[in-house]
């Protein structure tokens, strides 16, 4: 299976993502933001980081870069696209997934492990996953998911919420909401479920001795689903 990770100026999780994808069997290529064409890929990943120094709004500049025309076409023709953290911000700015990511409610940069509940398994990203609650890592300043009430209704009606922030047992409530996101939303899909944006970093949870292995479970499952 082939994957591509896009590097924007200011991306800093692109190589971590490369390590993770390669570890679980993807043949990964790094793609520069100024390129026009994507290599043949089964999965495109927009990595975390601080593209263009978060100028104007996080992800706004990167969403207009040359390679994004190809990424948008790829997504619209049904290709799998995953945006993590700053990658999620780029996805919302490019209009591939609905909503926006605002500054965290309490104005703090948050860097910690969180639990997320996988809500919807009828998609390539989470199908056949044998866990409902995963431990991932978050590190962001603008992860407060927001959308209009009309958008929220549409997102809920179409089952587009991918993951929620929750406690160890999968309970979602205000106390464990790290950043003020509406309904504890940590990740969402586009309508067709081939584009996933999420704030947590699965690529930081792929080593038993360093971090825990819920990221490993996610990537192994993803590879099997794409095969």
């Amino acid at each position: 299976m082939k994957s591509s990770v896009i590097t924007f100026p200011g991306s800093n999780c692109d190589r971590d993502m490369d390590v993770a994808l390669t570890k679980f069997g993807f043949k990964n290529k790094m793609v520069w933001h100024n390129d026009q064409e994507l290599p043949k890929s089964d999965l495109i990943v927009l990595p975390g980081g601080f593209s263009y120094g978060d100028y104007l709004r996080c992800g706004s500049m990167a969403s207009k870069s040359k390679i994004m025309h190809s990424v948008i076409n790829y997504a619209k023709s049904g290709g799998l696209v995953m945006g993590i953290c700053n990658g999620f911000q780029i996805l919302v700015e490019s209009g591939l997934v609905p909503g926006v990511l605002l500054r965290n409610k309490y104005l703090q940069f948050i860097c910690k492990n969180v639990y997320v509940k996988v809500e919807n398994k009828e998609n390539t990203f989470f199908k056949n996953l044998d866990k409902k609650v995963l431990e991932f890592h978050i590190a962001h300043n603008e992860g407060n998911y927001f959308c209009t009430s009309d958008q929220l209704k549409e997102i809920e009606d179409n089952n587009q919420i991918a993951i929620y922030y929750c406690d160890q047992n999968g309970n979602t409530n205000d106390q464990i909401n790290p950043n003020g996101s509406i309904k504890n939303i940590a990740g969402i899909f586009n309508k067709e479920k081939n584009v996933l944006g999420m704030m947590p970093h699965p690529e930081r949870m792929i080593d038993e001795s360093l971090s825990g292995e819920d990221g490993s479970i996610f990537f192994k499952n993803l590879l099997n689903n794409i095969k």
Binding site: S60, L102, K105, L107, N144, F146, Q151
Partner: protein, 80 residues
Amino acid sequence: MKVSAVITLKKDVLDPQGKVIHETLDGMGFNSVNEVRQGKYFEIDVKENDPKKAKDLVEDMCKKLLANLVIENYKIIETQ
């Protein structure tokens, strides 16, 4: 000519920075503040002398890049 654009958060969108600024002003003794909303201001010099065309151009920029219409409103001001 120069055209300015002011980007503000929509009414329903939480503005934590505005809130903190409000509380700080309050702490400094400016007790007559109802609300503070923080926004962005752009001054754009366009190669265009027709005011209507210049404004239209900046409006297009606001829609496509400068503002995110899910959370922000924009206002165009002709400055020169």
